[in-house]
Symmetry: D2
Subunit: 484 residues, 4 copies
Amino acid sequence: MDKPKEECGIFGIYGISEAANYVYLGLNFLQHRGQESCGIVSTEGISLYKQVGVGKISEFLDDEKLNYLKGYRAIGHVRYSTTGSPTLVNAQPITGSTSKGAVAIAHNGNITNANLIRNELIKQGKVFHSTSDSEVVIHLISESPCEDLVEGVKWALSRLEGSFALLIMTKDTLIAARDPMGFRPLSMGKVGDTIGDIGGTIAFSSEDSAFSIIEAKKLREVEPNEMIIVTESGITTDQILPIKPKTNQCVFELIYFAKPSSNLFHTSVYEYRLEIGRKLARAHPVDADYIVPVPDSGMVSAIGYSMESGIPLGLGLIRSHFIGRTFIEPSQKIRDFGVKMKFIPVPELITGKRIILIDDSVVRGTTSKKIVKLIRNYLPTEVHMRVASPPVRFPCFYGIDFSTYEELLANKHHTMNEIAAFIGVETIGYLDTDLLFTENDSASMGDFCAACFDGKYPSPLNQFSKDGFEQEIKQKYFGNRRGS
Amino acid sequence: MDKPKEECGIFGIYGISEAANYVYLGLNFLQHRGQESCGIVSTEGISLYKQVGVGKISEFLDDEKLNYLKGYRAIGHVRYSTTGSPTLVNAQPITGSTSKGAVAIAHNGNITNANLIRNELIKQGKVFHSTSDSEVVIHLISESPCEDLVEGVKWALSRLEGSFALLIMTKDTLIAARDPMGFRPLSMGKVGDTIGDIGGTIAFSSEDSAFSIIEAKKLREVEPNEMIIVTESGITTDQILPIKPKTNQCVFELIYFAKPSSNLFHTSVYEYRLEIGRKLARAHPVDADYIVPVPDSGMVSAIGYSMESGIPLGLGLIRSHFIGRTFIEPSQKIRDFGVKMKFIPVPELITGKRIILIDDSVVRGTTSKKIVKLIRNYLPTEVHMRVASPPVRFPCFYGIDFSTYEELLANKHHTMNEIAAFIGVETIGYLDTDLLFTENDSASMGDFCAACFDGKYPSPLNQFSKDGFEQEIKQKYFGNRRGS
Amino acid sequence: MDKPKEECGIFGIYGISEAANYVYLGLNFLQHRGQESCGIVSTEGISLYKQVGVGKISEFLDDEKLNYLKGYRAIGHVRYSTTGSPTLVNAQPITGSTSKGAVAIAHNGNITNANLIRNELIKQGKVFHSTSDSEVVIHLISESPCEDLVEGVKWALSRLEGSFALLIMTKDTLIAARDPMGFRPLSMGKVGDTIGDIGGTIAFSSEDSAFSIIEAKKLREVEPNEMIIVTESGITTDQILPIKPKTNQCVFELIYFAKPSSNLFHTSVYEYRLEIGRKLARAHPVDADYIVPVPDSGMVSAIGYSMESGIPLGLGLIRSHFIGRTFIEPSQKIRDFGVKMKFIPVPELITGKRIILIDDSVVRGTTSKKIVKLIRNYLPTEVHMRVASPPVRFPCFYGIDFSTYEELLANKHHTMNEIAAFIGVETIGYLDTDLLFTENDSASMGDFCAACFDGKYPSPLNQFSKDGFEQEIKQKYFGNRRGS
Amino acid sequence: MDKPKEECGIFGIYGISEAANYVYLGLNFLQHRGQESCGIVSTEGISLYKQVGVGKISEFLDDEKLNYLKGYRAIGHVRYSTTGSPTLVNAQPITGSTSKGAVAIAHNGNITNANLIRNELIKQGKVFHSTSDSEVVIHLISESPCEDLVEGVKWALSRLEGSFALLIMTKDTLIAARDPMGFRPLSMGKVGDTIGDIGGTIAFSSEDSAFSIIEAKKLREVEPNEMIIVTESGITTDQILPIKPKTNQCVFELIYFAKPSSNLFHTSVYEYRLEIGRKLARAHPVDADYIVPVPDSGMVSAIGYSMESGIPLGLGLIRSHFIGRTFIEPSQKIRDFGVKMKFIPVPELITGKRIILIDDSVVRGTTSKKIVKLIRNYLPTEVHMRVASPPVRFPCFYGIDFSTYEELLANKHHTMNEIAAFIGVETIGYLDTDLLFTENDSASMGDFCAACFDGKYPSPLNQFSKDGFEQEIKQKYFGNRRGS
């Protein structure tokens, strides 16, 4: 599938020797949230030690770099670079010497008023070293009139709009925070048995599943609008804004980003996807021989669809896992090379069969089209597509880099028949938006942002209107869409 | 799981520009058959060009090396080095200037009389450059009294005992061969539409699924005892031995080695494993909440077990795919580190549930034990294990490097109760040997070797008895087993 | 020799396609001035493109990175990291978005009031991303009340104390500057024939010899206190301070740092070293069979000594040039391994001979001691040492990282006899400070800083006394020296 | 200069722990004799351990590879690949299992009857794995009817024609040998003080200077026709042919290949080159301001020329040592890029001066032409060239890969005036062949091969005439030369 790109995964740990080694293991688990740059900052209580680089954490970090990262506290970051350039400028964690001392920051999300703040501070003579929206956070912390670090961080975060899950580390303090609306996930865990004890080791992760690797137990989620402050004196908690706004957690985390083993926004990703599959089967039934998931993202929903429909699950596409960075293609091009290198069909489950292809979401539709073409080579009698989410119709301002408005399949092809024809399937069925959460579900729609599906942005778009910024946003997200 | 090691995968192509590039893509698919060394030899009809190296093919081969591999014919090889050393000595394809011209050979299998032949030839003054059993093939071809290459190859292959799927290439000829008993698989495919036409491009692969990647279609399998000779004049076929012995295809290819998308020994791997899962459910039923496969090898059998038993499939272990070569572990060791880095539990499917864990096979049992321990951390009420093959009780002489006899779990722990206790499960159930093939199956036991399960070796062990070699074999395969 | 470490070499070019490629070639020549980190920033008039890394420029920059560095203007930097850590934090050029737009800076030298400025700015809420003294420059430029870039740079540079040769680049302007006292060298050259023409290509380099590689001609040196501003409108020049102070060029550039092919401070390095050799022969004559230079730094002075004394030059130590980064030594250590890997004796010029060993300078003396020991293995009858500079007795505050005060040989061993005994030679002779420049020389002592030899610092040491900084400096530069 | 290519350098050691580490250090010194592939084989008395690779030894061998090379005996090899391909096929040492056990061989030289032997053996059914002439040695050893290893080696070596310095190692024996005419050098040294003692450590090296690095002392040279056999019982010596032919040591080793610190063929390379410089000054005097050597190869002769003529030495070309493997050149090519990256002119020694350029030899003349062009940019008044060897007029069959006959400058341009015009100098002077050795020299012409200068090949060319091989040789070495 042509997947949207999320900005990052973050992981931190406080109070364990070789802290950077644990962060490295945690980041390795979070690698699906960003594979283009990565980094770790550690401290032994005196200095901050930093290593950032391009590529995956397991490729970048070697023994020598890990040994350099001294200390018993560390935070780390994995990132999708959306520019495609091999430069390190925007790799995280970012660090700086500030009026509150040396500070390191790892950020997942998108600060929508970053450019406004950035331009204002630059006009005042401040110097910015990157184009990352995250750099405004460290400047605001330094700018803050409060002398105390925690108060300064609170002052800074209260000025931010948009989404952020943050880990902020100084030589003696680790602060974890989620934006007031709670767009991005962040969980807190504990290594060792003495939960609640000051002497324990506290860990934070974008997804709680990463705790399994380092033998940590999940304590709870960092809540929207919450700051958790870890020091040698213990753990305290605070609120960013005095009045917490309505929660707007990103439903796309449940649909696609997070690993099925994770539990976030107080919801099991596995169970959510399984239930979506069941709802999809009820909403868009069709007779067939096999339910074929697009691996790996459509797998759990396919099991749900199979259970509900009684049609057997058939792994008709096997994913090839030994893929390197890029493949060298012969000059005489192979059609749909990337899809062929990734998905291997199982002829016995396709030839002469009616199949229902299940994927978690469709954004541009070009990969779905190629997959269907690959399957058609093996002569199925019918191919139906069922998508375990509604059509993506609107850009995201809170940390997901979808394609531009014009490229979104559901905008270009308005009817389901047109979309089915484009992809090359007999029928297509999406989940209705009102089925994302139904009354039996543990979570409820009211706590989630589904703006990419329904266009109901949690904050008015005119927040981007100051200072000519609106044009920039419109250009970036909506392209040349007429009449917009 | 603690998996056995197979020697190799082989791939060849004849009659396409940038032939080496296609072999590289084919080998990439076959990478699961060996990841420690790899190589390609190509020819443009004048010289042979060779590149061999350590590691995976996508890591080893870059543009520069690929450009060096000129020509429209090429063969390649991926290999498990069982020595663990980083040396290249035994990497394949092996090449040599012989009395029949320059020859390249890629070999999957194990030639059981290699040492006898090797020692004899060395005594005569021949020079061997590796310790590989495959090198005797090239020497026998050069030794052959026949002037003609094809006759020489036939003469050489008829002297070999044991297992071999071979690709043999000179500057103008490509020969594919399977040993008379047909232990190892080899398929023939064709690129382009003009099947049977001399002008077409012929490909060979250990598994036919690799053809999908290069847009080739499978023609048929190379049959046991068959040599297929491809030259510019077309394709001919010949028999190695005048009288073909009983076929003895390796059942472990179906059980574990091959990708589920492959069809080999005229059998769909996917369907075979699905059916095994059904048989297992009938043979060893137990009540439970979820059928949990050990990913990825237990997946298809788990679907079969779930279908037959009606117990829902639950992907309780998620495989982490972003694993690098090795991970740097903290000095304070993490228990069962390797298993924790590879398998992430889904607590919702485990905690308070009765689960049936499905794996394709158990060799030493140590990995199964660790997986169960990991699962137990999440407090299931019951864990049952079902294994989609019989207990491995005997060493293999035909190309699979199991652990030594003494390490085989089914030899150390004789009763099922003992084995269940060792692994840490409530009950364990293996497939009975006589269920490997039953009357409704398309294939029949008579065509397969299952010596690792039943000890019925297709050739008498005394073939190893000449020249003191028996001791060596016994030592290697049976260790210090008393009374043997 | 145990050499002092200089901070950097810088190179820039304006007005040529593939500008970064030329900077890469220029930096390669300047590599002797710093080999631990390197970087280039380029611009095509719209954005700044940046690549910085560890190691030598020819190891770090590959085709992909070079292609990323678009545009026809670029500046670059090579650096000695004095921390020994593999981190990139202080690699240059440094870049930032400022109130004057995006700015890149490459700096050679040491800004002595950097910490004062840095602490002041941080207190005001500014954020610093490195510990480099160079980062204050970019902050001051952004801070400057002047709207105009050139005025802003002038305002910033006039606030700096210490030494700097600087290249400052924005998307449309390149500024080259030397500090008012002119400690560090910087030359201007021109590619192509149309000198003075606006359409021409202007280059800047720490050493003019680098121009040879890119087919540029030297125009002149950037003068102390001068700023040269290159834009599309042409070249203009300005003064940093309204009244230029006395010039204080670093004599160590002539003695050791610069390549003998360079001409800097209006002085030919080759001729300067040759003349020093002659003076040394007159001041410290001794009879001998051969003048043996320590390669390569003692070579030119040795020729001068040989000419003046009439004693033949003998290359008794051959330098091994195929040295990698570090050598793997056997566990049973080889005595003076590093010296043995670097210098190969020529027995015919040593055994039974009286030799005069010539080196450019002696700092700690430990390497000289090892070289003499190596020579003594070949049984010379006498070894005399002549040093083509005065004893190094004082730390440098202007960009050279000598050892700490206590380690300087000339401080630990006060008499020449003591020093000769330490090194293991019959006699030793240094150049007298008043011979550094004599009346026949083209340059005169009045224009140079020789504080490392005579302790006459061009600016009062109490400039370091504010804000407790004096202690830090004393600790760093003078160690635990009692009574200082 | 456009230098000829020599095949190899070899180094071996017997009787020291971490033997491979010493060989690695020795090979590093010998790196000037070949930089394109390298390798080491070691033994602990049981197995042979092998590592071969492309590039320099210090780039190829890391800790892991070195640790693999167990044992207290090892031999190694550095090699110029003349094919330019990145393949490893011909990398040495070569190894094989033979009728005398496992054998490793490192070879410097060129066996002129290798193809005859190779073709004969292949016809008999032997298999060759490389195209290297060295592989025949291992085959002949295995072929030998003698049971004893030493007798077998002797039998094999006596069948070889051409040049060889060889190190042959089995698990318990190290044999060093030089061909009967002694073309290539080989020295024996000893680590530790107990010379002659069985317990000592014996080393062999192409050049004795390498002993300095590992703290070994030279014992003596291996003599032409000699085999030295080292075992645990001690050192013995033997003769290859019963009657030693006339010695024909390669004079080009003294002129160019060997490091000036080496002593080989009982001659000091430094003193030989110094004396050549003196002879050249007497034979071809001319008035000038500076003697400018082409670094580094013309350096010692230039000192000799300067001493004899009284004209001062001036290092007018500085060699840039920080050169990487290859440089990335801008698309708009820099004229004579390679020469400009390597040699930096010193303007003060060139502009307005008359200079005499000294190089050790001229083969094709194209590099000399470029160097003169570079110098002319700096406007000397006169440039004279003096070459410290006679014109190269004939190909070499004994291990030096000169250009083809037609490319040799001295064949294309017959008169000195024509050659001077081609190179671009006022006058040129070569050494006369009869001055290579004169009566005062310690060595005498009678013991040397100077066939590349005088065409007097030590063995009749018709040795190449059997089996159609003559045509091949003529084609290879003489090209399309008419009338030959």
